[in-house]
């Protein structure tokens, strides 16, 4: 289980622009490094991030090795209705990690 951290407001008024910060623990191995014996370390990065809210992908990102380990992304969305804000990270091995937070919209 990989550690993810989400920062988002628990409540908002409809129409508010809310800031969301998302981070996942991941080495973001670039594929350009070698181990102690000189063997190349295969690339394995989170290459895709998506945020879904109120029936739509509201933000997404294609990431490359130039994104730091434990990728951190902050963005915003408009509060529309109460419900989950969901996050998906996908790495080079096809593994996905998901997280979700609830927002109460008045």
């Amino acid at each position: 289980m990989t550690r993810t951290m989400i920062s988002a407001p628990e409540t908002a008024r409809a129409g508010d622009v809310v800031e969301i910060k998302a981070m996942i623990a991941h080495p973001m191995e670039t594929g350009y490094r070698v181990d102690a014996t000189g063997k190349p370390i295969p690339r394995n990065i989170i290459n895709r991030f998506e945020c879904t809210y109120d029936g739509e992908v509201v933000f997404a990102a294609d990431l490359h090795p130039a994104i730091s380990a434990n990728p951190f992304i902050a963005f915003s969305t408009i509060a529309t209705r109460s419900g989950p804000i969901s996050f998906t990270w996908t790495d080079d091995e096809g593994k996905t990690e998901t997280a979700s937070v609830e927002i109460q919209v008045e």
């Binding site: 000189g38 990102a61 130039a66 994104i67 434990n70 951190f72 963005f75 969305t77």
Partner: protein
């Protein structure tokens, strides 16, 4: 919400301890020699590929990145685009490209009217002192950019694992 809410926790992660830092510094010369020359597109080519050949004009994009960084492994960047983010006038994509990393691409962010605000923050790796460019694609199909020259003291991609 406080801007620094995630920061202390981020920094407490065992990303780069002192030993790794020292090892990284020691490995600088060796690794830069040992790494084979990689063919990568020039910055201008990468930008052209992103815009599909459309002209990229300077302006509308605010690119915040420190001019001098000690650690190229995690350079905080903020990109803001001056647009209302309405259905008819918004930012579709924001991308970042670099001049001297092994690959020109850094990230492409997809936004839309539901973003509310065209502002994205992340942390990037810089393998050398170089030019970094942020480009925004607007809903009218135009492309705008902002570039920054960054000096890096300790480069990324050179950590030694031993």
């Amino acid at each position: 919400m406080a801007d620094h809410e995630l920061e202390p926790r981020l920094q407490s992660m065992p990303l780069l301890n002192r030993r790794e830092l020292m090892a990284g510094a020691a490995g600088l010369v060796l690794v830069s020699v040992a790494r084979p020359a990689q063919a990568r597109p020039a910055l201008a080519e990468a930008l052209r590929a992103f815009s599909g050949g459309a002209e990229i004009r300077p302006g509308k994009v605010t690119f915040e990145i420190p001019p001098l960084v000690e650690n190229g492994n995690a350079v905080g960047v903020t990109i803001t685009v001056d647009r209302p983010m309405s259905a008819s006038d918004h930012v579709r994509r924001i991308a970042m490209f670099n001049e001297k990393n092994p690959q020109a691409d850094v990230a492409v962010f997809q936004l839309g009217p539901r973003a509310g605000r065209a502002k994205v923050q992340t942390r990037i790796r810089l393998a050398d002192s170089q030019m970094v460019v942020a480009v925004a694609e607007l809903s009218d199909g135009s492309f705008w950019s902002s570039e920054a020259k960054v000096f890096v003291t300790l480069a990324a991609c050179v950590e030694d694992l031993s």
